[in-house]
Symmetry: C2
Subunit: 289 residues, 2 copies
């Protein structure tokens, strides 16, 4: 069993990005600049945003946070987006989701310039990705592909089960894994809440990517020996032995499944750290040195 | 065994569209207007375009054909597209593919206004469709969904095998069939040229949609009893007993497979006629009466 060490790989990527930034700023070019819009004070959102800003610092990016009161109107938010779209000193930006209910989330995402959409959520980028063209790819599926690539896992012709069809993970990774590319080209089955006989499918899969959000759902008796397992699940489970009062648990029963897997991502330390690394990579692409 | 009669359904749809147009023109509104750009004199392209124009006449649409010499420059073509985008009397238009090699096809498609993109090939529409939002859906997958809907075939929770991953059929139909919708919600496996053990997968599939282009590829021994089969293949096969010197053959060995299928599309007369009907439906949507 080999660990797909997302923490280590994400540090490698950050270090590569840092070197690239340094090389270019030494030439007198300005560093990449990532902006973030945050509405309200949701705890998880604040944690994510702070972690993204910290990562920008680490690699030498400039970052800006536009933090609004939860009562901001949709119109005000759209005006801010127009401003960011035309601000030539900002290369890319993200709108931290979820937004409060009085704001139409799709309208906001559609307003982001596809050229600055480093989250890859704009339909123009999502469509280009789905059609197999070069575009911004959402950070989590992008991170999964990068992990597979860095560990040189063979995917061509393999059967791949993706569990979960969300627009930020399951759907895009199911598309990417089946595309005619070196680290795709798998025969992908996309399973979801309406899927029957999931065990039958999972037992024959060479690669399983789970983005379901049910703690320790995937058990040892559901996989075959040698399977590659990518666990995207991140659920907080109450744990009073921890200082924070909870622990982070993935979709996979790591102890059992890891005994049969050839490669497996831990949680935490697997896909999670890759996500921010790929956001930084998308921002580097947007800077277009 | 029940025939999924695309010819009949397409006539029903055309008749519904015709009534809708009549109702609105009687009120003094102008009819929908579909334009088409054709470059060169490829035989198949001419046949398709003529058939589309004829269908427009049948339902009371206005149509315009812009037929250019094969030597037209990319710049001239893009200028024509800009003109069509801003022409308020044209609701939707198509650029007949393939284009000659000196013209960048993607650049052309990307220039089409997503609001007039009745072929549904623009990344903005493809992305919206992939994310599950209302948008123009490419005509062939749209026609398949419509057939399934009109025959009230149950798809939720069923296993669906899509063979072929082209951007105009396999990829979009694999996405649509797995979406959380009444006539989707299936567990979809997308197979392609690199897929191994296809027979194993096809034998367990409840629904098979084949868009491969290999005549009579899918044989009786590759399917289970009760399977629903949608045949998107249209290949010209030499046949000297026919006046034209060829016959049209699908991906499915109809004689054998139809004995086991619960529903099956014939070729011709199955998915083919649905394609133009759905182009008309997309144009009606673009007219937005």
């Amino acid at each position: 069993m080999n660990i797909l060490d997302g923490k280590k790989i994400s540090l490698d990527i950050k270090s590569e990005i840092k070197n690239c930034v340094l090389k270019n700023t030494k030439k007198g070019l300005r560093p990449p600049h990532l902006a973030a819009i945050l509405v309200g004070n949701d705890g998880a959102s604040l944690t994510y945003i702070n972690s993204k800003i910290k990562s920008c610092d680490e690699v030498g990016y400039k970052s800006s946070l536009y933090h609004y009161n939860i009562k901001i109107s949709e119109q005000e938010l759209l005006e801010k987006i127009d401003e960011l779209n035309s601000n030539e000193k900002i290369d890319g930006y993200i709108v931290q989701l979820p937004l409060p209910k009085h704001i139409n989330q799709n309208k906001v995402i559609n307003r982001i310039s596809p050229l600055k959409d480093v989250d890859g959520f704009h339909p123009q980028n999502f469509g280009s990705m789905s059609q197999g063209f070069d575009s911004f790819i959402p950070a989590t599926p992008h991170g999964i592909i990068e992990l597979i690539e860095r560990y040189e896992i063979k995917t061509s012709g393999k059967s791949c089960l993706v569990i979960g069809r969300s627009n930020i993970v399951g759907r895009p990774i199911s598309i990417l894994m089946s595309q005619k590319s070196k680290f795709g080209n798998a025969t992908v089955t996309l399973a979801h809440s309406n899927t029957k006989n999931l065990i039958e499918i999972s037992k024959s899969a060479d690669i399983i990517i789970s983005a379901l959000g049910i703690p320790e759902f995937l058990k040892s008796n559901m996989v075959k020996k040698g399977v590659v397992v990518i666990d995207v699940g991140i659920t907080r489970v109450k744990d009073l032995t921890k200082k924070k009062g909870y622990k982070i648990v993935g979709d996979v029963d790591f102890e059992g499944v890891s005994k049969k897997a050839s490669y497996i991502t831990p949680v935490p330390g697997g896909v999670g750290p890759m996500t921010i690394a790929m956001l930084l990579k998308n921002t580097l692409r947007a800077r277009n040195f």
